[in-house]
Symmetry: C2
Subunit: 327 residues, 2 copies
């Protein structure tokens, strides 16, 4: 099942069910007004949503319409919590190089995670307004899961039961500010503007065997200004989402609608598969030549983030957005 949120002038938008080929959709607000409401009452809503989804895929559903993804906001335009891991070890290693950071103690045995703003999330085709090109604007292509309520103390073995939806994210970063904030130990506030998400969120079954061991085992395709930048696979996550969820729930309940991110997707074979953020490329350049030459994004630059199934069908639709100066 594929779900999305239609922009309708309200802060939370209107829930719709989208066909597998992303071409058609039908309103689902008779079942739950918003995706957040559906997640809060998942056991009551999901059966009816699945039945509607079957109708949409078969081309017969009340109110069926041709989908224009530009009319979508983020599947969750706002939600109660956005916790982002950094679960790809090769990403961490390169960040350490490029920002000349000390190695993080215990990072192979204990997930890294920060809390980001979840109050103002961007749609896949929304412009991303930022204050200054001098802040080192970078994209970060990630995979994220959406949870129903997870009680405090849920172990990894029970955590995947709570993964209701999967989506892609552009967790943009301001790389000049990031190391300054990181050195305080308090995590990032200014360095993390609004995150953008893929047009649709899908239930794990849509991924078939590519969803295994709490990982999305498919390449994530990233383009910067129409040029391929990388296609690292989600299979190399150093911790699975079950471990990230359990980590987050150690001392708190996670409310329905919580989003957990993978961190920038990255593979050990980065020389072959490329990267999912600019800072990594700068790290590789530094290792190879002693100097980073690739510059960060300028206003007007675009980033495109997409993932395809075995048949070449875009699973989540594309994040395709432009960086603009905040007015």
């Amino acid at each position: 099942m594929k779900l999305a949120t239609l922009r309708d002038g309200t802060r939370d938008g209107r829930l719709i069910v989208v066909s597998r080929d992303l071409k058609r959709a039908a309103p689902a607000d008779g079942i739950a007004p918003t995706l957040l409401a559906a997640l809060e009452g998942w056991s009551a809503a999901s059966g009816a949503l699945v039945r509607l989804s079957e109708g949409v895929n078969a081309g017969r559903a009340p109110g069926l319409f041709d989908l224009d993804v530009r009319r979508l906001c983020a599947p969750l335009p706002r939600t109660w919590q956005w916790l982002d891991g950094s679960a790809f070890h090769s990403h961490g290693d390169l960040m350490q190089q490029v920002f000349r950071l000390a190695p993080i103690e215990g990072k192979l045995t204990r997930p890294l995670m920060y809390q980001g703003g979840s109050d103002d999330l961007l749609g896949a085709c929304d412009d991303m307004p930022l204050p200054s090109e001098n802040d080192g604007i970078d994209f970060e292509a990630e995979i994220a899961v959406v949870l129903d309520r997870v009680p405090m103390g849920t172990p990894p073995s029970r955590a995947l039961e709570h993964v209701r939806l999967i989506m892609l994210a552009n967790d943009a970063s301001l790389r000049v500010l990031a190391p300054v904030e990181m050195k305080t130990g308090f995590g990032w506030v200014q360095a993390k503007p609004s995150t953008a998400f893929s047009p649709v969120a899908v239930t794990p079954d849509e991924l078939g065997p590519a969803w295994r061991d709490g990982r999305v085992c498919l390449p994530l395709h990233v383009h910067w200004n129409e040029r391929e930048f990388g296609h690292p696979s989600g299979a190399e996550m150093g911790f699975g989402f079950h471990e990230l969820v359990a980590h987050a729930a150690y001392s708190r309940n996670l409310s329905a609608g919580t989003i957990i991110g993978s961190g920038t997707v990255s593979n050990e074979t980065y020389r072959t598969v490329g990267s999912a953020c600019i800072a990594e490329r700068r790290g590789i350049e530094l290792v190879d030549t002693g100097r980073s030459v690739t510059e960060y994004m300028k206003f007007g630059d675009r980033v495109r983030i997409e993932m395809f199934d075995a048949s070449g069908q875009s699973i989540f639709g594309a994040i395709d957005q432009k960086i603009v100066r905040a007015s």
Copy 2:
């Protein structure tokens, strides 16, 4: 005006207006169903709320009832964002001692801030369930402000216009986990369980001249198991709330309902006025004797946090809660 949220079985509770002496209240859900809704439409709601408040204070309002603060949840039982500063420099200095941390670069010129969980906030009299006494359970008594929508780039000079409400917080910390997470640079997730807030949130005018320069210039009284622990004043904030709000809004819009915290209230005269968290006392002991002797909280321990006006009236009501083992 004093606002609170009555527990009614829903996740967001029911908005009520409370009398200045905290003895009576009247339902305000005819004006806005929840406090979050009131904040999202503040310009429309506030006039009617003020008129209702005048009636409540005069002892005549529809549905007026005697208030039992134990029936209240947090003013915002959940909200879109909770950003907590660390604006009292003497607190930071003592934390540096007790956790043997390196000095934080630029901390006198750039506010420190982390993002905490805002999806599951505790009421003032709620038990605080935690997984283990071995994690170093500490209270942290703070002052917090609640904002309406703050556009990205709002300068300090315009930030106080967005402060709609003020309240107290117990931003509990798990001190064994906190330095481990801090050293990663990612901020705190496991070390920061659900934060609790005072029974009522008040508009800044309720503080009279004690609200000045973006600071609440009154002592914050903290008791641990019925014994006085400290009463440091909010006047010594190293950054005012206007600076914290502007810092947070540098690269993002802050949605209505965002809470910004002061960090643990702390004064340079901590030997006289005491502290608002246990870790500070342990830092002082370390400085004085080379050894911290005060232990962290045990299950069954209580903390009480309260602030009084010049006439001795409790402004926000008391946070008075017990630490319990999570079931």
